[in-house]
Structure formats: structure tokens, C-alpha cells
Symmetry: C2
């Protein structure tokens, strides 16, 4: 049985990453999405187990203690993290897993899973990033600048990634991500069984 | 200016490689195909510069002497080889180049161009390989066995390749090759200019 691969996907606010992931899942439902565990309160439009597992701080701290997380982060008093077990079981059973995570989380995962393939979603230009981040037109200059700086700080770390996908238009960017996933499946390591199969009759 | 990539493609008789390459070129004409230099006589259906450059043995031997070949081979008294210069110029000008070559040629190219990406085309099974090689029904068992053994000898070296594409049906196999080429273009090394472009206004 061939193992699956782990894909890490990151992209700043304004990269359009979330929309890409929704479309990717529609076009390519066989990929398994990793569900983060978080300790903040559930919001009205959220459901347990859909995008997040909502757990208590005590439970989260126990996971940290037991080294059960591929990566985690603390933000405004709450924990956010990726449990290792579901990722490892999916991969062992031959499924590819996509983990959506920020640049810090990606760096932590790479240390634990050096074979993970990482993809950074880029906005097509500075001005387009600015347009996307100020698009709502209801926010102060200060709030926009803050988001812009956070996005640029993430982009400065794009060089840590294996692949850069520029999100100029959504279908093309989704196809790029699918190409990367398909290509990983064609790597020698995942195709050795075919060679053995053809040769076994020799 | 971003450089292109070099792709090496091999596959035994019966893998369907030649048909795949014709279809690949139709669907993906921006890829440049490397033209081999050979010393055998031109056949009736061949044209100079289409698939081969027909040169004299003296010319070929001069190329060997001057180290102008990425790989070469001698077969039944004739030379077959891949000139380095057109490959390097295409890559320098940003084009991707596909070199069709056997397992020995591929091994020689990898030594000179360690970044070359190599793809091995596989028949889907032993029995399908046998069916394809004996399909014409006009040849002796001995001739078929000889081709079968040559094919199996090539397949034994498939593990030297980065990617294995199984040619079950042609459109799917062509798409696999296109995915590999597109994925190489998304690698960090070929996308750094985008990061610089977005960041240059900071």
C-alpha cells in the first residue's frame, strides 16, 4: 500500500487562499483536509468538526504536553494547532492530506515532516493585494495598513516554500494546486509498485 | 529572466512513448523538443531537422572530441546523440526542453545536468506489454521475445527516474506529463521574481 503525501498550504490575507481551498475541495474531493483544534469559542456560523475541533484549554495543553501536535500557536489568549494523529493515519492509509496553516505553523510542520510539500499562495501584485485588502471600503486606513503589513510579513517568508502559486484567477490557481498534488503521486517513491508488478512475471 | 527546465523522457518499446510525445506536443506546443544528431542514412519518410539532424561520422566524432554532446551512443555502427548547445540556449531563454532518450542516454544526461527532471513511461502491466509487442502478429516468437527482453531490461532501470507515468490511456498519460511540467514551473526557484515584484514596493 502506498502512503499518501502531506501538503502544507499558506497564503496571506488577500491571497484568496480560502476561496481556492473551497474550489479545490469541490474539484478534488479525494484530498483529506486536516481539521485544526482550537480553544476559542465557537461562532454562530461554525460547526464542531467542520473546519475546527473546539476543545478546552486544559485539553489543548495536555496535547502539547503529550507532543500530539504537528504545530501550534497561541493568539490573543487562545490556542490553535494541528493534531498529528489524523494526519498520520490518513497518510498511512494512502490518502493525501492538505494542512492549511500560517508561515509559523508551516515551519513547525516541516521540522516534524520533512517530506511535506509546501505551497504558498501569492497575490499577483502589490497593488492587487492592496485593492483586495481595502476592497470593503468601510475600514480605517490604519486597519488596512495593519492587514497589509501582516500580509507582507508572510510574503517575506514565501521563500521557505517548495511551490509558489500565484492567484491571478481562481480556476487557474486551483489547477496549479491540482498539478502539484498529481505530480507528487507520480514520483518514483509512490509508483514503485507498478514497476514491481510489471517485472514480477520475469 | 527565469530559466527553463530540462525534461528527460524514456520508455521501452511498447510503452507508447512516441504516441504520447506526439499528443503532448499538440496539447503543449510551447515545449521545445531536442533534436538528436545521428549518422545513419536518412529514411524516405524522414526530413532533415524534423526529428534528427543527419550528420557524417567525422562531424559526430568531432562533437565527441569537443565535448559538445549531452549524451551519445553507438549502435550497429552508427552514432546517436544529443547536442548540448541547443538545449542550453533554449533553457537560458526560458524555454522548457524535452529530450527523448533511452536509459543509458538518460544516465549520461543526469551526470551533466543534475537538475534535469526525468520521466519514465511504463506499460500498465506485463501482459499488456506482451500484447503490444506481439500485436502485429506477423513476427516470429523469437523476434517478439527479443523485444520483450529489451523492454524489460529498460523497465529494470525505471527506478533511476524521478517520475513514473503509466500509459493506460493516452489522454490521461499526456495530462500526467503536463502536470509534471507545470509543477516544475511552480517551484520556488522559478517563481522568485513574483515574490520580489510584490515586495519591491515595501
Amino acid at each position: 500500500m502506498n502512503k499518501g503525501s502531506v501538503f502544507i498550504i499558506s497564503g496571506p490575507s488577500g491571497s484568496g487562499k480560502d476561496t481556492l481551498l473551497v474550489e479545490l475541495f469541490k474539484k478534488f474531493p479525494e484530498i483529506s483536509f486536516s481539521i485544526s483544534s482550537i480553544t476559542r469559542q465557537m461562532r454562530e456560523n461554525e460547526k464542531e468538526g467542520e473546519k475546527y475541533h473546539f476543545i478546552s484549554k486544559a485539553e489543548f495543553e495536555k496535547m502539547i504536553e503529550n507532543n500530539e501536535l504537528l504545530e501550534y500557536n497561541r493568539y490573543v489568549g487562545n490556542y490553535y494547532g494541528t493534531p498529528e494523529k489524523p494526519v498520520v493515519s490518513a497518510v498511512e492509509s494512502g490518502r493525501d492530506v492538505m494542512i492549511e496553516v500560517d508561515v509559523n505553523g508551516a515551519a513547525q510542520i516541516r521540522k516534524k515532516l520533512p517530506d511535506a510539500v509546501s505551497i504558498f499562495i501569492m497575490p499577483p501584485s502589490f497593488s492587487e493585494l492592496e485593492r483586495r485588502l481595502s476592497g470593503r471600503g468601510t475600514e480605517s486606513r490604519e486597519a488596512i495598513d495593519k492587514r497589509m503589513n501582516a500580509a507582507l510579513d508572510e510574503i517575506k517568508r514565501a521563500e521557505e516554500y517548495d511551490y509558489i502559486v500565484v492567484n491571478r484567477d481562481i480556476p487557474a490557481a486551483v489547477d496549479d494546486i491540482i498539478s502539484i498534488i498529481k505530480t507528487c503521486r507520480l514520483q518514483l517513491g509512490r509508483q514503485k509498485h507498478i514497476i514491481d508488478e510489471v517485472l514480477k512475471k520475469c
